[in-house]
Symmetry: C2
Subunit: 348 residues, 2 copies
DNA sequence: TTGTAGGCGTTATCAC
DNA sequence: GTGATAACGCCTACAA
C-alpha cells in the first residue's frame, strides 16, 4: 500500500523509462507511438503500483474536465430522477460525471449555477430548464459551449435537443377524451415561456379541431409553474367559472395531481364527475387515487440520448444539429371515463 | 470580452504586482498579508478583467477539489431526492459540489463508483449505502477519508452519521396498530445487512412486547431489497401462509406499496381487510390509494445535517464523532383502521 | 522509438 | 509587504 498515491514519475521510474514515454504508453491514443515491449513494461508497472492518473492534473493540461453541468428545475419532481439516471449512466460509461443543479425555475439561481459550473470548467451542459427566449442560451451559443436541451426546445439558438413530440402527445390526450364522449374539455396550460407549455397547448387546440370541438378560451387556465399547487389553483379557477366542462387535459402530471385536490374540495369525483388526463407518466402516478391516465414517453432513454448528443458535441463532431423526438404513448388508467348524460359540472 | 479567460497573471500585470501578491490579495485567508492599497488595486483589476480563479489549477496545487462523492442506492427511490437536495444546497453554500452515484445496492457498482470518485480526488463522501459490515467503510476508515453516513449506521467504523431513530419509529408504528385493536401483526423486515433493517425489526419486537403482543416468527418476512417488488413478494408469502393477521408493518414505504399490489391480487381491501403502515413518508405517498399511514422524518434536513457534519470532517476539525438522530413522527392516513370483529384474513 | 523542455494556473516557501 | 521560485501531475511539440 503506497503511502502517497503513485504518480506517473513513479511508474516511469519503475519501468525505467522517461515520464513522457510512460505517458504515451498509458494513453490509448498514443500507445502506437511506443514499442510493444516498453508499453507492456509500463502498464505492468502501472498495475503493480496501482497507478491512477490524476484527473485534476490532466484537466489542467488538456483543458477538459470530463465533467458536465446538468440544470433541472427540481430533482423532487419525479420526472427528473429517471432522466438524470439515464444521463449519468451514459456519461459515466464515457468517463464523464455530472454536476446537478436545481434551479427551482428561478432565472437568477439558474444563472448562478451556470456560472459556477463554467468556473469549474465543465465540458458542456445538459439543460432541462430552457425557455423559448433565454438569455442564458444566447450567451452559451455566443460562447460556443457544448449544450444539449432536454425535454424542451428553444429553436432560436440552434442547440441539439431530445424531447417527446408534445403536440402529438397532446392531440392523443384530447382524442382519448373526445372518444369517451367529452365535448367541453378544459386545458391547464403549462408556462408559456417553455416550449412544453406552448406545444401542448397547440396540440390541445389541434386535437379539439380534429374532433370538431369548439375551444372555449375561458376553459383554458395558465399555470405559472409545473407544480401541484399551480394545478390546484388553475383547477379551482376553472371550477369557479363553472362553465359545465366534463374533462381536463393538464399540461403535465403535476398539474393533473393538483386537479385532484381541487376536485376533492368540491366533492367532485374523478372520473365519475370529471375526467382528468396528464402528461409524462411520471413514476408512481399509476398508484395514485385514481391512477392517472396520461401520455408517456421514455424518461430514462431521454437521458441517455441527451448524453449521447452532448458527448458528440463535446468531442467536436461538427455535423448538423440533431433534434430528436421520442414518440408519445397514451396510457389509459382510471382517471378518465366515458361522459354519462348527467355528468359534469353543468352550469347552475 | 476577453477571448481567453483572464488569468491570475493578467490580473497581476494589470495591477502592476507580482502574481503571488495578486494571489494573496484575492484569497480571503491571506488578504491580511497584503497592504490595504494593493489589495484594493488587485481586486479592482480582477473585477475589471472578469477574473475567475481556475478551480482545476487550484485543486492541483491545494489538493482540495471542493467536490464530494455521494453514494445512494437509487435516485428513483423518492426518498432520496429531498435528501440530496438538502445535501447539495448546504454544500453549495460552502462552495462544494456533489457527485452523485447510484449503486443499485450492488457492492461491485458501489466499489467502482467509490474508486472513480477517489480518483477524481473528492474531498469526502456522504454515503447512504452503508451496510453493517462493510469492506468499503473499513478501507475508508483506514485511508482516513472524510465520510459521513446518511440514513444508516455502521457502528464498527466510527463515522459520523445522521439518521432517524429507527427503533423509536418502528415502536410508534406498532403502537398505532395496537391501539387500533390489532393483535396479529406482521412485519416485512428490510435487508438485515443494513442498520435500518435490523433497527426497525428490533423496534417492531420491542413495540409488540410493550403491548404484550406475541411475535409470531412466521409473520416476519425478510425483504432482500427496499423495493416495491420485494414488498409484493413478501406480502404474498405472508398471505400464502395465511395465519390470520390483520395488519402489516413494513420496514419502509416502498415495501408497503408493494403490499398494496399483493392485497389487490387477493381482492383484499386496505384498510378494511388489512391495515398497512410504512416508514419514511416519502413524497407522493400521501396521494396513493389509499394514502399510506407511515412514520415521517425530515428528509431535507437529514441532507443538510449530513452536509454540515461532512464539512466539519473535511475542514479537519477533530473533535468527537457526532451521531445525530432525528425524531420520527407518526403520520396517520387511510391505510390503517380499527380492526373489526370479522376482519382480517382468518385461517381457513 | 524515446528523451527534453516547457507550461497548464495556482499557491507555498523562501528571501528581500 | 512584496517578489522570486518552485512545484502540484500531466501532456505534447520538438529534438534526437
Amino acid at each position: 500500500m503506497p503511502e502517497r498515491p503513485a504518480t506517473l514519475r513513479d511508474v516511469a521510474a519503475a519501468a525505467r523509462v522517461h515520464p513522457a514515454t510512460a505517458s504515451r504508453a498509458l494513453n490509448p491514443e498514443t500507445r502506437i507511438l511506443v514499442s510493444e515491449d516498453t508499453a507492456r513494461r509500463v502498464s505492468e508497472a502501472a498495475g503493480r503500483l496501482g497507478y491512477r492518473p490524476n484527473p485534476v492534473a490532466r484537466s489542467l493540461r488538456t483543458r477538459r474536465s470530463h465533467t458536465v453541468g446538468v440544470l433541472i428545475p427540481d430533482l423532487n419532481n419525479p420526472l427528473f430522477p429517471p432522466i438524470v439516471r439515464g444521463l449519468e449512466d451514459k456519461l459515466g460509461a464515457a468517463g464523464y460525471v455530472a454536476l446537478i443543479g436545481n434551479t427551482d425555475a428561478d432565472a437568477g439561481r439558474e444563472r448562478t449555477l451556470f456560472e459556477q459550473m463554467r468556473a469549474r470548467h465543465v465540458d458542456g451542459f445538459a439543460l432541462a430548464t430552457a425557455t423559448l427566449h433565454d438569455r442564458l442560451l444566447a450567451e452559451a451559443a455566443a460562447a460556443d459551449v457544448p449544450v444539449v436541451l432536454m425535454n424542451r426546445l428553444a429553436p432560436d439558438y440552434g442547440f441539439p435537443s431530445v424531447s417527446v413530440d408534445n403536440e402529438q402527445g397532446a392531440r392523443m390526450a384530447v382524442s382519448h377524451l373526445a372518444r369517451l364522449g367529452h365535448a367541453r374539455i378544459a386545458h391547464i396550460a403549462g408556462p408559456q415561456e417553455a416550449s412544453t407549455g406552448v406545444s401542448r397547448l397547440r396540440g390541445f387546440r389541434d386535437g379539439m379541431a380534429a374532433h370538431e370541438l369548439a375551444v372555449d378560451e375561458s376553459l383554458i387556465a395558465y399555470a405559472a409553474k409545473y407544480t401541484v399547487e399551480e394545478g390546484t389553483r388553475c383547477c379551482r379557477a376553472l371550477l369557479a367559472r363553472h362553465p359545465g366542462f366534463t374533462a381536463v387535459a393538464a399540461a403535465n402530471d403535476m398539474l393533473a395531481v393538483g386537479c385532484y385536490t381541487a376536485l376533492d374540495e368540491r366533492s367532485l369525483s374523478c372520473p365519475d364527475d370529471m375526467s382528468v388526463i396528464g402528461f409524462n407518466d411520471m413514476p408512481f402516478i399509476d398508484r395514485l387515487r385514481p391512477p392517472l391516465t396520461t401520455v408517456r414517453f421514455p424518461h430514462y432513454q431521454l437521458g441517455t440520448e441527451a448524453a449521447q448528443l452532448l458527448l458528440e458535441r463535446i468531442s467536436g463532431a461538427g455535423g448538423p444539429v440533431k433534434i430528436l423526438y421520442l414518440a408519445p404513448e397514451l396510457i389509459v388508467r382510471g382517471s378518465t371515463a366515458a361522459q354519462h348524460a348527467a355528468g359534469g359540472t353543468a352550469p347552475a
